[in-house]
Amino acid sequence: MIQNVIAFVEHKHGTVRRVSFEAATQARALADKLGGKVHAVVVGDGAQTAAEALKKYPVDQIHVSDDTRFLENAVDALETVAKAAGNGLVLVGNTMLGRDVGSRFAARVDCGMNADVVDFTTDGGIAAVMPKLGGLVITTCALDGDFGVAAIRPNVFSAKETSGAGEIVQIPSSGKASAITVEDEVEEAAAELGVEEASVVVSGGRGMGGPEPFTTILKDLADAFGGAVGASRAAVDAGWVSHGHQVGQTGKTVSPPLYIAVGISGAIQHKVGMRTSETIVAINKDANAPIAEFADLLVVGDAFAIVPELANAVRDAKAAHA
């Protein structure tokens, strides 16, 4: 039976990703219901700094490992902590790294794994709730056994700071050699807020006509909201914006509180990646674009005229509140 919850903490040189704070916060809520403890696991370069940031979250123990092996360090640390706890649900972000770490841990300890989790139930054991088939159905999966992994969709669970000061515990070095050599790491774009994490996503499609709007008017609107720029596949395939921005079946699945689709027709493959957004606003020349069928508001007009005005209006509205 699972009682403890273990949050795997993703960070870059000590700067923690928001989804990991969400995992830590959700871990507490689950552990309280299941009657267990909350652990956080932080590994790699900058782990100590990240652990300090975790102290503001309701975690009982923060396990720190300075092991810098790629991926293997995280799986080893999770295994150590989970086995010492005797049982545990590991929460990872449904991100590239989270999925890698979570899936390897699941195979290591032979447990179930649920991806893209948006909710949990705890009556009679822990179960994860996930939209499947692009949100057409909502499935619930019970995680049987002593261990389990749930990859939580970013931006769905809240992250709440508390006064709870977790105890920092050092994980002794394993001394193992790495099977994977990291030769270099290149950042092509400035570290931007990813579409998966943003609470407002402003996506552009073929209607944008070229690469420029993605760095000018769409970016400006996204910035006005403190959000991120997304894209349809047509825009990505045309080379206007990089694949990391693509929303949809072959891109990222997002469910922000607000999704704004600009010059996007709303093809089924795009729809499955964003239909679970809370509120969908579309700007399109064509009143009959398929997106009209599932947008909460479709404003029919020229994006190039509307978007800059909208960015100004959003900034004004926000300034009025400040």
Binding site: L71, S103, I283
Partner: protein, 269 residues
């Protein structure tokens, strides 16, 4: 590890999925996907892995071979043939009623056993499937096989018994390498999958498709629905999203005003 100068056995895992272009519908009573009338296709993500395998084989040009592996009902033969028509040398299908309903864990157990039986030097997979969209299988397989797993590769090279890949990250890439045998998941940025030409399609008919049952793999663990570690307990349909408002805007300023008003009502501003 195998000797350095030696042909490689490259294995590509492929999956059968419902046609991605079809609008999916749910049977309101059974809450299951309506499969009648929906064609099945080769998981589009797997085509990048097949293409990557074929390019490596062509580049190595040393007698290296490409085998496709699929855990699929017998109906999946068509899909495997497509991979053979693209240029894979042969195929292995694990078709067994006992694997039906396997969860991620069960799938990883069966595929790992099948891969081990093939003695592959390099395993290539797609990054995810279009029906499950979890993206967790590559990592699980690597761990089950006890070999390095290099995921999200957009560039793959083989030299001196090692595989080196450019691995996509959220804001760029990293170069990682490992000794063979290893597993690599291939992204859509890696290549443009080739079409099977007529010669390939004809040739595929003569290629061997080996069928295996679970017993042939010497598996002892229970897989399938009963062995699942993550057990489906409920399937519900979400409330349907109603058709929203459609408003014509005379100009940019009016369009912006309509949206701001709407966002204020919904407390976004």
């Amino acid at each position: 590890m195998r000797p350095e100068v030696c042909a490689l056995k490259i294995l590509v895992t492929v999956k059968l999925v419902p046609d991605t272009n079809a609008d999916k519908r749910i049977d309101p009573v059974t809450k299951r996907l309506v499969r009648t009338g929906v064609e099945t296709v080769l998981n589009p993500f797997d085509e990048y892995a097949i293409e990557a395998a074929l390019q490596l084989k062509e580049k190595l040009n040393d007698g290296s071979t490409v085998t496709v592996l699929s855990m699929t009902p017998a109906t999946g033969k068509e899909i495997v043939r497509k991979a053979l028509a693209m240029g894979a040398d042969d195929a292995v299908m694990v078709s067994d009623d006992a694997v039906a309903g396997s969860d991620l864990w069960g799938t990883s157990v069966v595929l790992a056993a099948a891969i081990k039986a093939q003695n592959a030097d390099l395993v290539l997979t797609g990054t995810q499937s279009t029906d499950a969209i979890s993206g967790d299988l590559p990592g699980m397989l690597a761990e089950k096989l006890g070999i390095p797993g290099l995921t999200y590769a957009r560039k793959i090279e083989i030299a001196d018994g090692r595989v080196r890949v450019q691995r996509e990250t959220d804001n760029g890439y990293m170069t990682v390498s490992a000794a063979l045998p290893a597993l690599v998941s291939v992204t859509k940025s890696a290549n443009e999958p080739r079409y099977a030409n007529l010669k390939g399609i004809m040739g595929a008919k003569k290629k061997e498709i080996k069928a295996l049952a679970l017993g042939d793999l010497g598996l002892t663990a229970a897989v399938g629905t009963d062995g699942a570690k993550a057990k489906l307990t409920n399937v519900a349909t979400p409330p349907v999203r109603g058709k929203g408002q459609v408003v014509q805007a005379a100009d940019g300023a009016e369009g912006a005003k309509i949206i701001v008003q709407f966002l204020k009502e919904r407390k976004f501003l």
